[in-house]
Subunit: 381 residues, 4 copies
């Protein structure tokens, strides 16, 4: 009996499709586990779920199929053509495609919640699953500025009474209310609401987020501690991002971009302990496709006031950086729930730009915390 | 009674002179302690030596005076003119200048050792010092390829019998033989010989090194852990350095450059756990003066084999980055000896490119180790 | 008798003040003519106005004095302190300060025009000037979107009847109506209106503009021809500017920034012959002061479709780059008028981001056109 | 009757093989003429040789076949797999492969000359060719430091008498002695000897060179004129190259590297009119494959002495940049010879790092000179 199923919101988007193809390719031995942290060392020794026989499904608002998306990634030199055309991979993508349901975007309400619940329920039922991990990989939403009820029952009642919320919140509500695991890999609101924190504890659900730390922020949280450790005051930190995929297109919308900028901006002052002049700009260049470039320029001061600078230019495939983290998160969240955890999984901070459940942004410290937590968590009950 | 004296080898070089001016300027409240790690937080709370009444002296092979050097630094926008001309600073520099003795370069022997010992002895005597910290800030020497006796007495006997060794080794021998503290801030051999390790334990001396971690390697040891943590294989790491000061001039000599390159190259494979294609080039451009630029270009691989890259360009004043570390080291080495330590001070690894006494190169871990060690070390006996 | 006077709009801004100090410093032999193109070679041999005895005046909306501004530039390592404090320079700045009148900003009308005319008239009269060059160095205005009468008399009548126009237009109107020379060193509208083009021809005025080509666009117009010559298609050109001075502050306003972006964006498609994906972002970081950094990232395609890129990072002092161009322009505009030119001086395109009177943006071609024009223009009549 | 044949020295190297595949792909309409300057505009209107029915042959020292090489380029994303595998392209490569003869490297003499002449003669004969263009694409040789006879007959006599010369010289001698056209696309000596200049005039041969301007020097000759035009003194220009293909491997040898550095270093002082501090370093990183990265850092001075900088990082495929130039050169050299030119073709300077026959290095001026020359050269006789 399969004990784990995975439900991807945005299943046919670049990250979703690459996660599916990647899972199948690793299983078939067609790709090495590059970028995964759960395959070797002390974490690799834990009783994590294997790559066999995990059914995948998901919601999707777009019309592309998963196979079309992974072929596009191969055309962009993100995945090898030979891998995306391998029979084992195509079969896995077809199986997942059969489990994809129409997704939701914008503001949604009670009726949509019922349909999402039904989709998740049916998926669990159909595959006789003990556990389901729901991962939000959908496009970034505008920030949620409304005040929502903090009490879970009041929140659910408000929904029933006609309250409409961003789709990411509804997905998280459905998952948590069913006691499933929820991972918010985007800067959208998702499960990060008082009502859903409380609901997770009540229903025995686990959740983690938010916004996968894949590029510029990853570098920033490795580098900023240098200035803190060495007491070199950062005068200004300019960040400029250029990207071209769907994520870039949606971030071209100022409201959605604001969510991303908020998420990307938090780490710096948390690590430095003060607020330098800082900016995070995002530029949409369609021809960049799945490749993104991040430019950072830091001005800092040395002893005697000497004016110094550091410039960085990072070029990477958004999807290639994100997909292995999604695979790791699925395995680690499943382990946590299997070991009896409930509520926020703060030990997973190393995966996120805006980690829920901790104020720790330093990459190395987050990594240490993850390893220590996992070694203590021990065997599943 | 003054209990601590400081002896700088290369006292009138950029770093030596800036250390002297910086110590005086901090004491006089003319400069904030930018770049020092011993002035605040948990380390700042330790009973470290104050900035008052510490006599300085040193050896110097060049003909520039300390005052001339610091004026040159002010002309290059490293130190403010107002600070280097302040009466408190000028007085301190004049006092140190009076304690500067002719230095040594190249291969030296027993007679030179006697003169160095005499200089150090007289300095300690003249100022009634309990402790002296000797810091090597002299130009980089070629690597020492000869095999020297590992037994301290055999080594001293060989010197007496005519053995000639690089000056850095002789300085370290003199300091350690007198039971003083020795810091090697350069990539020269200094105290890092079996005979001197043993001699330090025998004489109750402490020593630390080597090669101050001020620029490119500092960034490298903050950044390389990212690739290790995230299992992103580094395919190649190209490092190019451009510098113009005396350090640059001496590194223009291929033999001396080899020492520096060896020192700069070690961290990467220690952190990554494998040897990527890597190079460290050093270019001497006199017009750069005290300013150095380091360019790094890293190619790495993401999931699916996606080819990614990171480029960094760091521009800083060598001296402004080094001098606060020297000040910190003086204070921490003095504390360690006062607390009863002997031998290598491995907890000071965070200050060095090629830390003696530990294989830990990751900046954040070195920093954690320093703080933990100091908090355990407790009050002086 | 002094034959030339210079009137700077924005006299106490960074560029205005540096132009004044620079003129005096060159005259006194305190600074070499770095960045000036009128001092050597074939242009240097022309009968250009000397640096002696040219009175300066101007309008200014701010409260800083010229001396305060140049001291600020010295503090930022743009000008040497010794030059700024030299008696010859201070005397020249004081003399100019005595000729500074209250300036205008925003929308202005007929009464303001009369006051500006009176200021210019009085300046010319007081110094018995044959010629006056008026240079607009004021902050960037929002773009002018209204349609103004194309006929000069209709335009003047509309002003008399209550029409209000941006200050840059009114300054240009006053200068041209008096038959003076006008240079628009900013992206504001200035003289670039059909009515003022016609008025210049009618009054015997000369004018040139617009927007001094000092940094990123200067590099762009040197580099973009490479891609055109070699038929390497540019897929995208991302430009990011970081600046901190008053110019940066004013460009933080989206309406004013639009003027600048429009001005900066024109060159690329003119040179390439097609419109690549392109963006020009401007970021205000107060701590940058007078220093600006421009980052460009170009993606282009080679034979076979190979994806290539070029990244540039330019760091310069805005004022140090602009002031010598202003001095050159004063001398060349005066020569042109003395030689009998009227209307737009299209041969000065090499100085401007948005050259009036020509579609040529390629730096080398603009330079050739300038030299050829000047050698043909010959001796003044 | 085919009137033109092309003989590539280094036919199965990256540039040779890509030239062959590119010629076939353009002929078959499989690739657009990206990077070629002879296909449109005024040059495109000239009666240049078409892409049909030109036989190719060449010398090769390596054991790779042309097809293997182009497949390697496709694996590295330089050429599309679909193009490389197209029947028209494979057929053309097979035909060329049948015409490849064993090549020469190192020092060679009279007997080798006879064999090279025989190969060329047989190729011309077999295909009934009116004209043959010989292009040197072989690995860079060490600089030729010996003094060779300046008189052509004396030079040939010395060869007959046992003189041994670098292979590039012998290839050029053979081609020129037969009255063919010779293009030296490498920094090796090739035809650039007094004896061969004279021989070309005597035999009615044409020749051009040397060292294709494809990357860093291309950018340098577009950019350096900016500093010359604007009188901004360049204080230092640091150039660092990283490359991984065969060219990189051969340049890892210090003697061969010296040739390349000499070739790359000339442009700067020719354009600026003075010698700034400058360096050109070349680093071999095998994993870069056909991709090269060039980093330049320029420090320059503005008015008042303000210290400014420009950094560039260029990433391109060596082969994709070179091959279209080779195709252009074949067509332009053939045209010149058909039009009656003899000796050095100085108007082709825009294609070369070290142009023979002119001191002009500025890209835009070279381009103007090419177009003007071609429009004057007119129709073939």
């Amino acid at each position: 009996m399969a004990s784990l199923g995975v439900w991807l919101i945005g299943a046919a988007g670049n990250v979703g499709a690459c996660t599916l193809a990647g899972w199948a390719a690793i299983r078939a031995g067609l790709l090495p586990p590059t970028g995964l942290v759960t395959m070797d060392g002390p974490i690799g020794a834990l009783p994590l779920v294997g790559f066999d026989k995990v059914p995948f499904g998901g919601h999707e608002v777009g019309s592309r199929t998963i196979v079309e998306t992974v072929r596009g990634l191969a055309d962009q030199h993100v995945l090898p053509h030979a891998v995306v055309e391998a029979p084992e991979v195509v079969a896995a993508l077809d199986a997942a495609q059969a489990e994809v349901r129409d997704g939701y975007d914008g503001l949604v309400g009670w009726d949509d919640l019922q349909r999402i619940r039904a989709d998740l329920f049916a998926f669990r039922d159909r595959h006789h699953l003990q556990r389901v991990v729901v991962v939000n990989l959908a496009s970034t939403e505008p920030p949620l500025d409304a005040e929502l009820p903090a009490d879970p029952e009041a929140f659910l009642a408000a929904l029933r009474g006609g309250l409409r919320v961003p789709a990411s919140v509804l997905y998280a509500t459905a998952a948590i209310d069913l006691g499933l695991a929820h991972v918010n890999f985007t800067p959208s609101t998702g499960s990060d609401l008082p009502a859903l924190h409380a609901l997770a504890l009540a229903r025995g659900a686990v959740h983690a987020g938010s916004d996968g730390k894949t590029g510029q922020t990853l570098v920033k949280t490795a580098l900023a501690p240098l200035f803190a450790i060495r007491r070199l005051p950062v005068k200004s930190w300019v960040s400029h991002n250029v990207l071209g995929n769907e994520d870039g297109r949606s971030l071209h919308d100022p409201a959605r971009r604001a969510s991303k900028q908020r998420s990307k901006g938090a780490a710096l002052s948390a690590i430095l302990g003060y607020e330098p002049e800082a900016s995070v700009a995002i530029e949409y260049m369609p021809s960049y496709g799945d490749w993104k470039v991040a430019w950072d320029r830091i001005q800092f001061e040395g002893f005697g006031g000497a004016a110094m600078s550091l410039e960085l230019s990072w070029r990477g495939s958004d999807t290639s950086l994100a997909a292995p983290l999604v695979i790791d998160l699925i395995r680690l969240v499943e382990l946590a729930q299997r070991c009896g955890a409930t509520g926020v999984l703060g030990h997973l901070a190393v995966f996120f730009k805006s980690p829920i459940g901790t104020g720790e942004h330093r990459l190395e410290r987050q990594w240490q915390a993850l390893v220590e937590h996992l070694l203590k968590e021990g065997a599943p009950r």
